[in-house]
């Protein structure tokens, strides 16, 4: 395709100038406006380990090294915004977490982080969960999923705290060896998390100093209430059976988790000033349930969640995982220009047609093309994305998956450069 030499329009600009331009470019797109050109965000993920010749385990665990690789890759490709890994194993390892596997912990050092779904909540747990989710989580659920916290099962019902001075005799249990062990493990997990948090904040500041806009994911995390009940509690099998066997209990539980997640996300926003809530969606995409089931079990609470977040000054950054082609018409009900959708495998051109007037769209580039395609393939798709999905603004170019494991650096360069060239408005 294009053979003329590529001249980077950002060449020669200072980091401060680039930061200001890129931040505005991202903000304009997020607010459904037309920026000067289409912003591009690279969520490198494990591509950093590949480029740096280190194991994925090292990337997860050696913060300084990951930061070094992130800076190097960012400066090499010069996109508007970048991300490394989004999670770290510290707290999970400290607690013996059964629901995650990290490279080097249950996987070989070059494995991919994976989530291990299970039926951690049994059907007979529904009543206790609905009655008092806090007590059930800490005394029943944590000991099941975090083996280091088994001692918490010895605690009295947490609500006994309301007994004031009469509850104090219960404190002796905190000295029982299994409880002591659990509290120590919690302390180690908290320490690991604090280190990770500091690393994340430091990384964003360093990237800003180098001229890169903050990534779109920064903020709290929440899930559609149906996914909350499915992912970490009932598991896919369990939740799908609940739709038929105990729909009322499922709905009652979802109402609880809607409210507690909103309380958390709003408090997080007020405490940190961060305005994004990241919402990855799992079981609501095409293929898992019928539209009738979607209308009853998935959409109402997901919509209510987004509307309430928006009312509280928070922008939901929603990862529409899987394919949403049959469900796009619902998304038009969301408040205009107040939410963002990252689309994984939906038909991105159809997404633009249906929801382009409602929300900023992120995604578009296929990971398979950046791994196994040719430069011409990448160039062709990029130009099409710029022309059709970028039309009028409200588009952030990223990979649909959000991460870039296995992508070839030379194809990534073609992609970024083509976006800068053809994404100009």
């Amino acid at each position: 395709m294009t053979t003329k030499p590529y001249a980077d329009p950002d060449a020669g600009k200072t980091p401060q100038q680039l930061y200001a331009e890129r931040t505005k470019r991202m903000a304009d797109a997020l607010q459904l406006k037309q920026p000067d050109r289409i912003p591009i965000q690279l969520g490198f993920g494990y591509m950093l380990a590949e480029m740096g010749g280190i194991t994925r385990q090292e990337q997860h665990e050696n913060g300084a090294k990951e930061q070094e690789l992130l800076e190097k890759a960012a400066l090499q490709f010069q996109p508007d915004s970048v991300m490394g890994l989004f999670n770290n194993p510290g707290a999970s390892v400290a607690l013996g977490d059964r629901m995650t596997k990290f490279p080097g912990h249950g996987l070989n050092p070059n494995g991919s982080f994976q989530f291990v779904e299970g039926e951690y909540m049994k059907p007979e747990d529904y009543d206790a969960f609905i009655d008092d989710p806090a007590d059930w989580s800490i005394r029943k659920y944590w000991p099941r999923v975090f083996p280091e916290l088994e001692g918490l099962a010895l605690l009295p019902p947490l609500g006994i705290g309301a007994f004031g001075a009469y509850a104090l005799p219960q404190l002796g249990i905190l000295k029982a060896p299994p409880v002591v062990k659990a509290l120590q493990a919690l302390g180690r997990a908290a320490d690991a998390q604090a280190v990770a948090d500091a690393r994340a904040v430091n990384s964003v500041q360093r990237m800003a100093a180098l001229g890169f806009a903050p990534p779109t994911f920064m903020g709290s995390i929440a899930e559609a209430p149906f996914d909350f009940m499915s992912d970490t509690l009932r598991g896919m099998r369990g939740i799908m059976l609940d739709i038929h066997r105990r729909p009322d209990k499922l709905l009652a539980a979802m109402d609880k988790v809607l409210r507690l997640q909103l309380e958390y996300a709003i408090a997080f926003h007020r405490a940190t000033g961060l305005t994004t809530c990241f919402i990855p969606l799992h079981r609501g995409s095409d293929g898992f349930m019928s539209l009738a089931q979607f209308e009853k079990f998935y959409w109402p609470t997901l919509k209510a969640m987004q509307v309430t977040l928006v009312e509280n000054g928070i922008m939901p950054f929603v990862f529409y995982e899987g394919v949403w082609d049959q469900r796009l018409k619902y998304l038009v009900e969301l408040p205009k220009a107040k939410t963002t959708g990252l689309f994984q495998f939906s038909d991105i051109f159809k997404v633009k047609q249906v929801v382009g007037g409602t929300m900023c769209i992120a995604g578009g580039m296929r990971n398979s093309l950046l791994q196994a395609g040719t430069a011409d393939d990448v160039c062709e798709l990029t130009i099409k994305l710029c022309r059709e999905v970028g039309k009028g603004g409200g588009f952030i170019m990223t990979t649909g998956i959000g991460e870039m494991e296995g992508c070839k650096p030379e194809l990534v360069k073609v992609w970024v450069d083509t976006t800068k060239e053809y994404g100009v408005y």
Binding site: K101, L107, G111, S112, Q114, V116, M236, R237, M240, L241, I243, H244, R245, G287, F288, M289, S290, Q293, G322, F345, R366, N367, S368, L369, Q371, A372, G373, D377, I401, E403, E405, G406
Partner: protein
């Protein structure tokens, strides 16, 4: 044949299906007939899935109903039912990937369409596929994967089959969330399928079925 039982299963009336089974057994119905009814009902469930009337909740519930009925019926069976005659399919999620939802749906749909599926589970190393191809001699191998690392694992698996001199003996299909034509060519598979019906159609095509 009990149309009532078939309908109860097909319509997801779990309690009715179990009660009817117990009644049929109490009235000395041949247990094999009940299993035939189950098979017919599962085929109907598969058809409703194909046309987009049923989804994952119904496939899982149908599997559960079948399990409960089998538990009632099995103790009364004098001899096993006739062995399945359909072509063999070797199925598994490739090394490094533990996702099983798509694979399980493919298993269900191949099974109700008469194929004999051997499911090797998840995180299956290439050598395991090779060993099982030698042992079972299936005409079809189906590789599933959801993570992007599956691209490489699929390629490694196909390469291992090649290296073992078995590539000419099997047709290989791949599928899963992120799989497309690029990855099919990259991995050296014969075809990729977008969903479970595509897997059934490919399997039929490759074994001369309709």
């Amino acid at each position: 044949m009990s149309k009532e039982l078939i309908d109860a299963i097909t319509d997801m009336r779990e309690d009715d299906a179990l009660k009817l089974t117990q009644e049929l057994l109490a009235s000395s119905t041949d247990p094999l007939t009940i299993l035939d009814d189950c098979r017919e009902a599962m085929t109907a469930v598969g058809r409703r899935f194909e046309v987009g009337e049923y989804f994952v909740p119904e496939l899982i519930l149908a599997g559960e109903i079948l399990k409960s009925i089998s538990a009632e019926v099995k103790p009364r069976l004098k001899q096993g039912g006739a062995a399945k005659q359909g072509a063999k399919v070797l199925l598994g999620t490739v090394k490094g990937d533990i996702h099983d939802i798509g694979k399980d749906i493919v298993n269900f749909m191949l099974d109700v369409n008469g194929f004999q599926v051997t499911d090797l589970g998840v995180d299956v190393p290439p050598e395991k596929f090779v060993e099982q191809i030698k042992q079972l001699q299936p005409p079809i191998v189906a590789l599933s994967g959801f993570l992007t690392l599956a691209y490489t694992s699929m390629k490694d698996t196909v390469d291992a089959i090649k290296a073992a001199g078995l590539r000419g003996k099997v047709k290989i299909m791949i599928g899963g969330g992120t799989i497309d034509e690029q990855i099919c060519a990259y991995a050296g598979a014969d075809a990729f399928g977008k969903d479970a019906m595509a897997a059934v159609n490919l399997a039929k095509q490759w074994t001369g079925g309709k």
